[in-house]
């Protein structure tokens, strides 16, 4: 029969110091995307919805989606609603 040792067993930590493990770096917070894709849901007979901008340009929306600045999304969605067109944000 093996004799049980009375000595407490020290944990073997000799290898840990040189194991090479390092604290995993914390990834910085992802910045909010500067643009968002808006998709138009149009009546069957309509192919496109245009929203003229103050600078003279025209933002055009169809079922394929258009990328717009994130800050403009709410305004454009409301403008579309006032015209009976539904614009929805597409998941990135």
């Amino acid at each position: 029969m093996a004799r049980t040792s009375d000595q407490p067993v020290e944990p073997n930590t000799a290898g840990l110091a040189s194991s090479g493990f390092a604290e995993a770096p914390v990834a910085p917070d992802e910045p909010e995307s500067a643009e968002v894709t808006l998709v138009a849901h149009l009546p069957f007979y309509m192919q496109r919805f245009n929203v003229p901008q103050e600078d003279g340009s025209v933002l055009s929306f169809d079922k394929h989606g258009t990328r717009v600045p994130t800050g403009d999304a709410d305004r454009l969605i409301q403008s579309a609603a006032d015209n009976g067109v539904s614009l929805t944000r597409e998941a990135n």
Binding site: H41, R48, F49, N50, A81, V85, T88, E90, A91
Partner: protein, 287 residues
């Protein structure tokens, strides 16, 4: 046997039909939603579905005849069909009893259907977050007509004859044209687009700068539609004529008169699909 035993006068039916149009190849409606007690109930054809995805809130807007009204921001978590229905019924453009909402947020999308009198309105949604989609009804009623609709099936045949028999020995169908014709009486963009084979671009108004307008552009590309014609039948439960692909290339001659009559836009829907895709469903029993 009396002559009266050879016919059933109850099978002689008069009555109107309604025509619904959708993008080409749109499948027929879910027949479980067809109302055999009222075949002209538009619920089965014109129901919105709202999927909430990962959104946290939604604002619904109902536009009708140039007037809009919006709900407050509705929190998605815990939103019930009853609460959504109450919010919509509270809109000035809808009114009490104008909308019916079913569905839950936990098991699937909401289904929103409007009273017949509100079918000319449009519901839109502004979601907070992503993944929310308000799917507009696929089908749209064509609207008022001058003298209703005509269903036609014209066939051209080829007789097969032999010298040895005076009567023909066979007949083949060389061509067949199934059509639905009518004169649309609502002078709106949708009517013009259907009658003129035109594409439509809507341009929003710019406050104090320029008005909003629809641009219809005639095209040589043949636009195709799915079409469903609904009417009553002798059994009293309704009938649907459906095919997935139709063109609308009829000739248009609209008169603009002071008082002699309304503007009319003739449409002639003609099938371009295989004959076995043209279906006539005659409902004979309710659910």
């Amino acid at each position: 046997m009396a002559i009266g035993d050879l016919y059933n006068a109850q099978n002689v039916v008069t009555g109107q039909a309604a025509v619904f149009v959708a993008p080409g190849n749109t499948p027929l409606i879910d027949l479980s939603k067809f109302n055999t007690a009222d075949p002209f109930d538009t619920t089965a054809w014109t129901t919105y579905s709202m999927a909430v995805g990962a959104t946290t809130a939604v604002i619904l807007t109902f536009l009708r005849r140039g007037v809009t009204a919006s709900t407050t921001s509705l929190t998605i978590t815990g939103l019930t069909a009853a609460a959504l229905q109450a919010a919509l019924n509270g809109l000035a453009t809808i009114g009490a009893g104008g909308v019916n909402v079913t569905g839950t947020t936990t098991t699937g999308p909401f289904f929103i259907s409007f009273d017949e009198g509100l079918q000319d309105g449009v519901l839109t949604a502004a979601f907070t977050g992503t993944g929310g989609v308000l799917s507009a009804p696929l089908w749209t009623a064509c609207g008022a007509t001058e003298q209703g609709w005509q269903l036609g099936a014209d066939k051209s045949t080829q007789s097969i004859n032999i010298e040895e028999q005076s009567t023909q020995v066979g007949t083949t169908i060389t061509s067949q044209a199934v059509s639905v014709q009518g004169s649309l009486s609502e002078d709106i963009t949708r009517t013009l687009a259907l009658a003129m084979n035109a594409t439509v671009t809507k341009t929003a108004a710019v406050t104090t700068v320029s008005p909003g307008y629809d641009t219809l552009t005639l095209t040589d590309t043949v636009l195709v539609y799915a079409l469903g014609l609904v009417t009553t039948n002798a059994e009293g439960f309704g009938r649907i004529v459906y095919a997935p692909l139709w063109t609308s290339l009829g000739n248009v001659s609209a008169s603009f008169r002071r008082a002699a009559g309304q503007r009319l836009y003739g449409v002639n829907f003609a099938t371009i699909c295989a004959t076995n895709q043209i279906q006539i469903l005659n409902f004979t029993q309710p659910k």
